[in-house]
């Protein structure tokens, strides 16, 4: 994913985040949207009986697949070809886009309908298709709204989580020439009318993949709207663009993930439509694509494959960690300036791009662990974030004062007397710069910290002293008896 699409230059995370927090309407919309999905997830997961066991099973199936990915990829490729499909390989996003433009040209396509796909957002596919002269339409309602607005998704499942009904009403009035309305059902039906005609006349469909089954050469996509079904059923040519990590070994593994995906994403027992596509239409079939292409894309995933961050490739893009994250809930999706926002985005964006460019992301977390609790495939996001922070320190990407501070901290923590002396100094210092018991300003690196947080002054009697006193008091109350 190139940086260009997210605004030029170095990401300005702090200002973007501050602006989002100051935007009250955005706060309301985001709070409602994320809580509704998070509550829905919590309410329905117990239906699985032992949800933790199912999530751990899903993690084990994914780990097994990734550890043997070369074999499963070979099997998958063979099965797709065996059913008349064509498989293409792309080392990066540019190659994937070139492959897709080439297929579209050979097919003499004019109108392309696309089902929602985060991997196509990752490589900014639409830009290249439009530059090559094709008409491309996003058909998921949220993605369609974004395409009209020229914006990026703010959530990986509900991409227009940041837009109010009034925003959409104004946009439709301006771009589609309809009379202004802010009624969601009315706006939805406007989109239905426009896109229905596009579905009917499109000659190329592009889909992503939620899962792919090696055993049968099947790709699986889920949508609530039905747009994925249209894209994969109506046009003469179908392209599935997928990251190489989407594989599952067998059909028998798929139910485990279908059970988890809908529940984790939106609190649904299962998504409305689950499509399984196995090759182009068969001899004697009335409908279905005549050509079926799978574009397998790496785009730095193979670099993650052998690394300590391999478990991040388990991700099924359900968005549960976004909905659960206290940081994401406050700042929304756009402040991250990354295709994949929220907790999982903080880990995979630096891995799939550059840690230096995205060095703000691993820091944008309180490490509270809500993401790990929510993750259906048990990705230990907090630990991965700590490892990325360590990597940043190793690469010298932290200020000198920061490093000196931690050196001093380590020294102080290594001896009881140094610790006591340091604590006493700190208490005096905080008392000097505080007002009404709170430090709202600190010099040097400390100032970066207090820019967004207040720190209470350390109490005059430290816990160590109070604890000793309390123990003594209790002992005297008990008359010295053990119990």
């Amino acid at each position: 994913m190139s940086k260009a699409g997210h605004g030029a230059g170095v990401p300005d995370f702090k200002h973007q985040a501050a602006a989002a927090v100051a935007n009250r309407r955005l706060q309301e919309i985001f709070d409602r949207a994320t809580r509704q999905k998070d509550d829905g997830r919590r309410a329905i997961l117990p239906e699985l009986g032992d949800p933790l066991a199912v999530r751990e099973l899903a993690a084990r199936i994914k780990d097994h697949t990734l550890e043997n990915l070369d074999r499963y990829l070979e099997q998958f490729v063979g099965q797709v070809r065996g059913r008349g499909g064509q498989v293409h390989f792309a080392a990066d996003g540019d190659q994937a886009k070139a492959v897709i433009v080439d297929i579209a040209r050979r097919a003499s396509a004019k109108l392309i309908v696309k089902s929602k796909s985060m991997v196509s957002e990752e490589i900014e596919l639409n830009h290249d298709l439009e530059a090559a002269g094709f008409e491309v339409l996003e058909t998921d309602l949220g993605e369609y709204i974004l395409q009209l607005a020229g914006e990026k998704p703010s959530h990986i499942v509900t991409p227009v989580a940041h837009k109010s009904r009034e925003d959409v009403g104004r946009l439709f009035a301006e771009k589609l020439g309809i009379e202004y309305t802010s009624d969601p059902p009315a706006l939805t039906m406007v989109a239905r009318r426009v896109l229905r005609e596009k579905f009917r006349t499109a000659d190329l469909g592009i889909i992503g993949a939620n899962f792919a089954v090696a055993e049968t050469g099947t790709v699986c996509i889920v949508t609530n709207e039905g747009n994925g079904r249209y894209c994969s059923s109506r046009p003469r040519v179908l392209i599935c663009l997928m990251g190489l990590e989407k594989l599952l070994p067998r059909m028998a593994d798929l139910p485990v993930f279908l059970k988890l995906l809908g529940k984790s994403a939106t609190g649904q027992r299962i998504t409305c439509y689950t499509s399984l596509i196995t090759g182009p239409k068969r001899a004697g079939d009335f409908d279905g694509p005549e050509e079926f292409h799978v574009v397998l894309m790496d785009n730095r995933r193979s670099a993650v494959l052998g690394s300590d961050y391999m478990p991040t490739l388990r991700c099924i893009r359900c968005g549960a960690c976004l909905n659960a994250c206290p940081v994401y809930r406050k700042i929304g999706g756009h402040a991250y300036e990354a295709t994949y926002p929220g907790p999982i985005g903080k880990v995979i964006t630096p891995l799939l791009n550059s840690l230096e460019v995205y060095e703000h992301l691993p820091q944008a977390s309180s490490l509270c662990g809500a993401c790990l609790d929510a993750c259906p495939v048990r990705i230990d996001i907090p630990t991965h974030l700590i490892h990325l922070r360590q990597e940043l320190v190793r690469r010298g990407r932290s200020p000198l004062t920061f490093r000196l501070g931690f050196k001093g901290w380590r020294l102080g923590m290594s001896s009881r007397w140094l610790y006591r002396w340091g604590a006493m100094q700190a208490r005096w210092f905080m008392w000097l710069i505080s007002r009404n018991g709170w430090c709202r300003w600190m010099p040097s690196t400390g100032g970066v910290w207090t820019q967004y947080r207040d720190l209470p002054v350390m109490p005059a009697r430290p816990f160590r002293v109070r604890w000793a006193a309390l123990q003594k008091e209790l002992e005297s109350e008990d008359g010295g008896d053990a119990r």
Binding site: A53, H64, P185, G226, S233, K259, R282
Partner: protein
């Protein structure tokens, strides 16, 4: 062709995995994820969950009653036209006759745009899953992929004997050859993209009737 060769692509994966311990044994305890036992009241559970998912379930005793029910539903929907694919619908001839008797125009299934014009689409199912109230529809032959999608109202015929307990059973009891397309329909089409307000019928049918036989 643009892109890279299969060899180069796979070589990168192999070198990434080289020297790593591999657990070659596939996790075999998929049953951990089972929610519904095979021995329960599957029809009852299917009806309960289908209703929760917004489907309108009509249980009838036999195929003759099913035919009458479909005619009745066409009336309720004020359907002027219908698409009934030539394959996959139980008692198709009787269904077609009943709809015609009620003055519903039967669209030519061989017209590629029929599904875009029909008021109702009638299909059978390959299987149904009690756990998620999912209807499995497959492509092929005289079936029509869009008959359950482009119509505003989909009427699906489910035989009680087609209901399996759990998604695990759905995945397990399939022919060795996958159809080119299979879809699990687990509700009507819907979206909540604008401010989480649930709106039915965004692209696919906003109404889904299930006529359950037996």
């Amino acid at each position: 062709m643009p892109g890279e060769t299969e060899q180069a692509f796979l070589a990168r994966i192999r070198s990434a995995l080289a020297g790593r311990p591999r657990r070659t044994e596939l996790p075999a305890d998929v049953e951990v994820a089972r929610v519904v036992s095979r021995n329960g009241d599957l029809v009852g559970l299917f009806i309960e969950r289908a209703t929760q998912a917004g489907m309108k379930v009509h249980r009838v005793a036999d195929q003759a009653a099913m035919v009458g029910k479909i005619g009745e539903l066409a009336g309720v929907q004020n359907a002027a036209s219908a698409l009934v694919p030539v394959e996959g619908v139980p008692s198709r001839e009787a269904v077609v006759a009943e709809l015609q008797r009620r003055g519903v125009r039967l669209l030519d299934p061989d017209d590629r745009d029929a599904a875009f014009q029909a008021d109702i689409g009638v299909t059978g199912v390959e299987r149904a899953v009690a756990e998620t109230a999912s209807l499995s529809l497959v492509s092929g032959g005289g079936r029509r992929r869009l008959a359950s999608l482009a119509v505003p109202c989909h009427i699906a015929v489910v035989l009680a004997s087609q209901i399996v307990a759990d998604l695990i059973d759905w995945a397990g009891c399939r022919p060795s050859e996958m159809p080119a397309n299979e879809v699990l329909v687990s509700s009507h089409s819907k979206t909540a993209d604008i401010e989480m307000v649930l709106v039915p019928g965004i692209h696919g049918p906003g109404t889904l009737h299930v006529v359950l036989v037996g």
